[in-house]
């Protein structure tokens, strides 16, 4: 049994909050640079130039890439041989988020649903936990913006609708979202499982590196087909018209009930932020 202390976890999460909000993953930057090279629309190119410039400023000056520093979403992979000591594990994560958002000058965007009163520390944290083999603890921090989350969709499709039905649902979701989710977007898709797991695997799909496809070749083909169809919509960077509406489509699939075919599109903006650490 390997012991990991709560203080270490709090410190790690504090750092992740800031790093995720100031630095964009390299694969996302690379995809944006490639989009800039390929974009036919002059407005689209100008938007992509602004996006790339923004990344430079945020990285250099340690200011948030976007004023929406997101809902604090944390994915945990806990090795079954790890023993958390020195306090309450989830509370240690919460303290890390409170610290990171305060000393990083990150925007606190969480409020009561009815009164809209801000909780002022960006908590509660949304935590998803998986138990895995081994003696490591992997923490992934994903600040999830509201604009792209608002246009995410869930549909209980009929089995008869098949792969075409899924494709239409994904493309139509991006079409309806238009300029709102800050394109070029990353499209996370969940298919199968149950009502709640479909959404969870769609969100996990947003963490995959851009350029990597699902290991199942049939699903990988569907990802490619969806991406082409989405980029043929013409929405373009910032919705001003252009070739690049999405940087990637990532699909995760689980088997489902014989009566069902749930599908979720979880949209992410071009500032596709996430950062991980393994303790």
């Amino acid at each position: 049994m390997r012991e990991i202390g709560c203080l270490e976890i709090t410190k790690a999460v504090d750092g992740l909050c800031k790093d995720a909000n100031f630095l964009l993953p390299k694969d996302v930057i690379k995809a944006l640079e490639k989009a800039r090279e390929n974009e036919e629309s002059s407005c689209g190119r100008a938007v992509l130039d602004q996006i790339l410039k923004n990344i430079q400023i945020a990285t250099k000056e340690k200011i948030p890439l976007c004023q929406d520093c997101g809902t604090a979403v944390v994915f945990l992979e806990i090795g079954q041989d790890v023993h958390i000591v020195g306090g309450n594990f989830y509370n240690a994560i919460k303290q890390g988020v409170k610290k990171g958002y305060k000393n990083g000058y990150l925007r606190k965007s969480i409020c009561h649903c009815f009164t809209r009163k801000n909780t002022n520390d960006n908590t509660p944290v949304i935590i998803h936990t998986d138990i895995v083999p081994g003696d490591k603890l992997k923490i992934t921090f994903c600040p999830k913006g509201g604009g792209s989350e608002n246009v995410s969709t869930l549909k209980m499709l009929k089995p008869a609708q098949g792969i075409d039905g899924i494709k239409n649902f994904v493309v139509e979701s991006v079409k309806q979202a238009g300029a709102n989710p800050c394109p070029p977007v990353v499209v996370g898709v969940g298919i199968g499982g149950t009502f709640e797991t479909t959404a969870l695997i769609a969100k996990k799909a947003l963490l995959r590196k851009i350029g990597e496809h699902n290991k199942d070749s049939e699903i990988a083909n569907l990802e490619r087909e969806c991406l082409i169809a989405i980029n043929n919509l013409g929405i373009g960077p910032a919705g001003l018209g252009g070739r690049t509406t999405a940087l990637a489509v990532h699909i995760n699939m689980l088997p489902c009930h014989i009566a069902s075919m749930p599908a979720v599109v979880n949209m992410n903006c071009h500032s596709a932020r996430h950062k991980e650490i393994t303790l």
Binding site: N54, I63, Q67, D68, N118, N180, G241
Partner: protein, 185 residues
Amino acid sequence: MNKTKKICVPLNDIDVAKLNIGDEVLLSGIIYSARDAAHKKLVGLISMGKKLPFDVQGSVIYYVGPSPTKPGEIIGSAGPTTSGRMDVYARELMKMGMKGMIGKGNRSEKIIKSGQKYKCVYFGATGGVGALLAKSIKQSRIIAYEELGPEAIREMIVENFPVIVINDIFGNDLYKEGIKKYKKD
């Protein structure tokens, strides 16, 4: 491609009549920040016939909730939020003389028609580039609803703040035109 236009805020009817969709505009002058919660309060004051915390006549409202200001800085990251959420409030402010809105994302048909009637332009600022846009904000101070935190109303002095005309006062929509140009069947 339309030429970049430099214009000063506040705006009048003559200024807005010169703007067409796709025009790239650099705004300089005073603009006001307001998003959902502030709009609700402003429209509440209008319905009670009370005075508003700033002069709406000729004003441009920026839909933004900046991140906190670091010590020694003017403002934090300050990019636009989704404008569609303000559609339920915008018409009342147009009636009071608002001449421009800055945000991102689609507006309703009703708001586009109101923009024509009351001569109010909708400018798009690029979403997700708040660190870059903050560079064009030269001064910022909270003038109302400090308790709303990021949603407080700020008076901001901007210099060459980069926007593009999405909806002009002639009922055109750049989002629709852009898609028409680049859509492939």
